[in-house]
């Protein structure tokens, strides 16, 4: 039976009966698999990014020197190791002194990511694999500027004297933290004893960096965790580089939804394709029944045929997905440094399962129905399969699609939204299409014979035609969405990080300096200076209950609660902040005092709406109730605050200001002049990171576009399948008309009339659908501003008409190029 099924498969394939089905499957599987492959690699890229933030695959930190056994164990396991010691000390050069964050490192540091250095201030920088040579220190730009140093000058640290080497422009593991205020001095670990700065009781953090092959590191981490003693910790990776992660998350959502779209569209194409297939095979089925084939034989025959088809197409889809993900990986090569381990098997599994489930979900019910075709049909044409509601037939398929969406989305809510959205759209489309047909039927029955005949044809089966309009509209929706709306969505995404996004931060601005600073910057061509007041305060109690590190189990929470937060006070909600619970400060709050908490920190510390928070700042305390919870955009590159209070509450506390601005292009010395004019300011230059971020975003958008092609292909396929669905009938109708003496022109005109109405309605519906989905995606899913497109209302119907007229032209030519009898005979 399997062999016969295989032969039937080959025969059907050769006869072109299965092309739509197979292509739909390949696209669905290819889309899902490439997204799965991509997600796999993105996860790895993300982990790598995070590792760069650590400078290693694993970072161990202690307040005392690490035991030698640990180093032996690392060597024994074949892992690479680097070490650093970090502390704060005074550096001197000539008459200038400055508190420096000293980092003494061994050669090989960092194990992940790279340092960047420049030969002098404001000169172009480059990657380096080296660490400072013996007797030399590398200083960051601010330190160079404030100590008035040039490369080659002498720097004193403790009892030792060093030569200032290159300018350190980027440390991958330094991040964009506003906590790292002290400028950096990097030296070689071997030089440290000479300084005499390492004494018993010195506050030094000892870091051990470990890297190697993934499994080896994981096993070592397990081994090491059980041996940690007091004051030792292993740093975790959670929420490293939130600004990069936000971009990646958005890309993943885009891709996931695109894959879902490809699945839904392919399911529609498969449903249409199967319908045509079963209709064309009704007679063959009846003939085989006459030849004595049993129900179970025929069912097995078709089931095997489809199963084999599903497997073959899934395999092809996976191969296609693999190729595409390789292209994506190549595209993202700059984003994913080094070689990646080969992608796993799970994307293949995910793709193949998708193929099987979609095909069987939609193909099996009609096939089961085929089984009930009475053999008598060979003698009496009017005997068809027993009618079942379309719903009963497709309920299995719909359930299958929902299951796949759930799997793809990984959460019930999103899957339900997408599924409900599509189901609702289908229903609405069908209702509108049906209503429009009825309306045309009532008012549009004038004009030429061809026009009237075409319309009559449309109205003869308003339901079937409404279904066809919906299918075409769905295909058009996908195409419009993926061409017109996609551009707008991606522009909105790009717009989040415009070229003039703030790239310099100023910290420690004193109240009396604000005016002068604003004037200074204005003279230097800086626009859009934003300043926020800032009070450093520790959170000491929630609802009167004191809180400390011991109240939290999470390592990050422990550390955060012991540090001071930057608290700001503002009357108005800053841009890019969104209140998710409660409401922003009202007049009553402003009078009584209130605090707004960032969503993520609220979760971490278990803070709820209405809780009274007590802070301690410079020996004084203040407290206020929580009246709102906010979500922040971590990729906005603006100063973000975990806590915002009402102004009256904090105005009397010692306040400094923080500012951000975009440095005018080409003014490399602005930072230097700024720190000369305001020596107490800390200038943080994030332009390198910002450029990196913009680069990351461009790469991601490129990758997303590539995967869009799958959904676009599926959309075109739906369109094709929808048009093909009624082609047999139309060919027959054309033959009948010809047999009755209609001229070619009349037949063509009638079909054009019919399809023009069909195409116009479908096109309008497609524009409606694409706009609705685009709006939902922009505002609900990606939190972007939706750009309304007027264009689409022209493009939709135009595209609908164009497709359909092309189809009439091709279809009618085929029908008319043969004698009517041939066409009549073929479909009898």
């Amino acid at each position: 039976m399997l062999r016969l099924a295989l032969r039937m498969l080959l025969r059907d394939w050769r006869a072109g009966e299965l092309r739509v089905l197979a292509l739909a499957l390949v696209l669905a599987v290819g889309g899902v698999a490439s997204v799965a492959f991509f997600a796999d690699r993105v996860r790895q890229a993300l982990t790598r990014e995070a590792h760069q933030v650590l400078g290693a695959d694993m970072l161990m930190t202690a307040d005392h020197a690490w035991a030698p056994e640990l180093r032996d164990e690392i060597a024994k396991r074949g892992l690479s190791r680097a070490e650093s010691m970090n502390f704060v000390s005074m550096a001197r050069a000539g008459n200038e002194t400055l508190l420096a964050a000293v980092k003494a490192v061994t050669p090989g540091y960092p194990l992940r990511g790279r340092l960047r250095t420049a030969p002098g201030l404001n000169l172009p920088d480059a990657d380096t694999d080296a660490v400072p040579p013996r007797g030399t220190v590398w200083l960051d730009e601010r330190m160079m500027a404030e100590l008035k140093l040039r490369p080659g000058d002498a720097v004193e640290l403790g009892r030792a004297r060093f030569r200032a080497g290159a300018v350190l422009t980027l440390e991958p593991d330094r991040g964009v933290s506003f906590m790292n205020f002290a400028p950096r001095l990097m030296m070689r670990l071997d030089d440290l004893p000479a300084t005499g700065l390492v004494q018993p009781g010195s506050r030094i953090s000892y870091q051990l960096l470990v890297a190697g092959e993934r499994e080896g590191v994981r096993q070592f981490e397990q081994w090491a965790r059980t041996r940690l003693s007091r004051g030792e910790r292993i740093d975790s990776l959670d929420n490293a580089r939130p600004e990069v992660r936000a971009g990646l998350d958005r890309a993943q959502s885009f891709l996931g939804l695109t894959a879902m779209l490809a699945v839904v569209l392919s399911a529609v194409a498969i449903a249409l394709g199967t319908r045509r297939y079963t209709q064309r095979h009704l007679d063959g089925y009846a003939v085989m029944r006459c030849m004595g084939a049993t129900h179970s034989q025929l069912f097995a025959l078709f089931a095997w045929e489809f199963l084999t088809l599903a497997l073959a197409a899934s395999l092809m889809g996976c191969a296609l997905g693999f190729v595409v993900q390789n292209v994506v990986a190549w595209w993202l090569a700059a984003l994913i440094p080094g070689t990646l381990p080969p992608p796993g098997l799970s994307p293949v599994l995910q793709g193949a399962t998708t193929g099987l489930v979609v095909l069987l979900g939609f193909a099996l019910p009609p096939l089961l129905q085929l089984k009930d075709v009475p053999a008598l049909r060979v003698i009496r044409r009017d005997v068809g399969p027993p009618r079942q509601g379309a719903f009963a037939v497709y309920v299995v398929g719909l359930a299958a699609v929902f299951g796949l969406l759930l799997w793809q989305a990984g959460e019930l809510k999103l899957a339900s939204y997408v599924f409900g959205g599509f189901a609702g759209a289908f229903g609405l489309f069908a209702a509108i299409a049906y209503g429009a047909l009825r309306l045309i039927g009532r008012f549009g029955r004038t004009g030429s014979v061809s026009w009237r005949y075409g319309l009559a044809n449309l109205l003869r089966r308003p339901r079937a035609n409404a279904v066809q309009i919906v299918a075409i509209a769905v295909g058009l929706t996908a195409i419009l969405l993926l061409t017109l709306i996609r551009g707008d969505l991606l522009d909105a995404w790009r717009g989040r990080l415009p070229p003039d996004a703030p790239d310099r931060f100023l910290v420690n601005i004193q109240p009396e300096q604000r005016q002068l600073l604003a004037q200074f910057l204005e003279r230097n061509g800086v626009e859009r200076l934003q300043t926020f007041p800032m009070v450093r305060a520790r959170l000491v109690a929630i609802n009167g209950k004191p809180v400390g590190a011991e109240d939290f189990s999470e390592e990050r929470a422990k550390r955060q609660i012991e540090r001071e937060f930057n608290v700001t006070y503002l009357p108005a909600l800053p841009p890019e902040n969104k209140v998710t619970e409660g409401a922003w400060f009202g007049p009553g709050d402003l009078e009584r005092g209130a605090v707004s908490v960032e969503h993520w920190i609220a979760e971490r510390f278990g803070i709820r709406m209405g809780d009274a928070l007590e802070f301690l700042s410079a020996g004084r305390s203040f407290s206020a109730p929580v009246t709102s919870v906010r979500k922040l955009d971590w990729d906005s590159m603006r100063p973000n605050f975990f806590f915002i209070t009402t102004p009256a509450l904090l105005e009397s506390f010692p306040t400094s200001y923080i500012a951000s601005f975009h440095a005018p292009a080409g003014d490399a010395l602005l930072t230097l002049r700024l720190s000369q004019a305001f020596p107490n300011l800390t200038v943080i230059d994030v332009s390198v990171i910002l450029r990196q971020l913009q680069f990351v975003m461009d790469q991601l958008i490129g990758a997303v576009q590539l995967v869009f092609l799958f959904a676009l292909g599926a959309g075109v396929l739906v369109l094709y399948a929808a048009l093909l669905a009624t082609q047999d009938e139309r060919t027959h109708e054309a033959a009948v008309m010809r047999a009755l003496g209609a001229s070619r022109a009349q037949v063509l005109a009638a079909q054009r009339a019919e399809f023009a109405v069909l195409g116009a309605i479908a096109g309008l519906l497609g524009a409606l659908g694409a706009t609705a989905i685009g709006w939902t995606l922009a505002t609900r899913v990606f939190q972007l501003d939706f750009i309304w497109s007027g264009w689409i209302w022209l493009a939709g119907p135009a595209l609908g008409l164009a497709c359909i007229l092309l189809n009439v032209w091709a279809g009618a030519r085929a029908a008319l190029s043969r004698p009517p009898m041939a066409a009549l005979r073929e479909v009898i």
């Binding site: 025969r11 029944r289 003698i379």
Partner: protein, 193 residues
């Protein structure tokens, strides 16, 4: 009687096709029974009847009923393949050359003329060496000359294979070539001879 040819005659709506459907077990009677090669057709379930058809019956239809996705050879192979018999391709090719289509084995139905299609159908009907051949207006869709050729061929093959033939027709000339004629009117036997 084996090898006997019976014609069923009657006007449209007289019940010819219904009778044929009943004989083949394609339709179920409201009352009565059909004996086929000693078996009570309606004492069997649907799959039992299918098995009986596979063993005993061959069909020729007015509208040919070739499978459009299969070429001529494959259409003739199909009943053998369904029955799981060996040497399907050889036997089918032989049968097609018997009906004069040795040159057109790989042609699809839509590229064959009506007469050729019906000859493929004849080959398909005889390839399983059925004991009983049911033919439903086999020339109904063919012009007179082509139809006559197909009928000649059918009678020749019938004689060679010593198959019992039941032929539904409204053509007196064709019916005249059968040993027995049964006339139907309004669902009843109106005359026999």
């Amino acid at each position: 009687m084996p090898g006997e040819a019976v014609a069923i005659l009657g006007a449209s709506g007289s019940g010819k096709s219904t009778l044929l459907g009943l004989l083949a077990g394609l339709d179920t009677p409201s009352s009565g029974s059909v004996q086929l090669d000693g078996a009570d057709l309606f004492g069997l379930d649907e799959d039992g009847r299918a098995a009986l058809r596979a063993r005993l019956l061959g069909f020729v239809f007015q509208s040919f009923q070739l499978l459009p996705a299969l070429n001529a050879l494959e259409n003739v192979m199909l009943p053998l393949e369904l029955a799981g018999e060996a040497g399907a391709a050889d036997r089918a090719a032989k049968m097609l050359s018997r009906v004069g289509l040795a040159e057109r084995l790989r042609h699809y139905p839509k590229t064959l003329s009506g007469g050729e299609q019906q000859r493929v159908a004849l080959a398909r009907a005889f390839v399983t060496q059925p004991k009983l051949l049911l033919a439903d207006e086999p020339t109904g869709n063919l012009d007179a000359a082509t139809g006559a050729g197909v009928i000649d061929l059918m009678f020749e093959m019938n004689a060679e294979a010593r198959t019992t033939l039941v032929l539904v027709t409204h053509d007196e000339a064709i019916a005249g070539r059968c040993r027995r004629k049964i006339r139907l009117a309004a669902g009843r036997i109106d005359g026999e001879g």
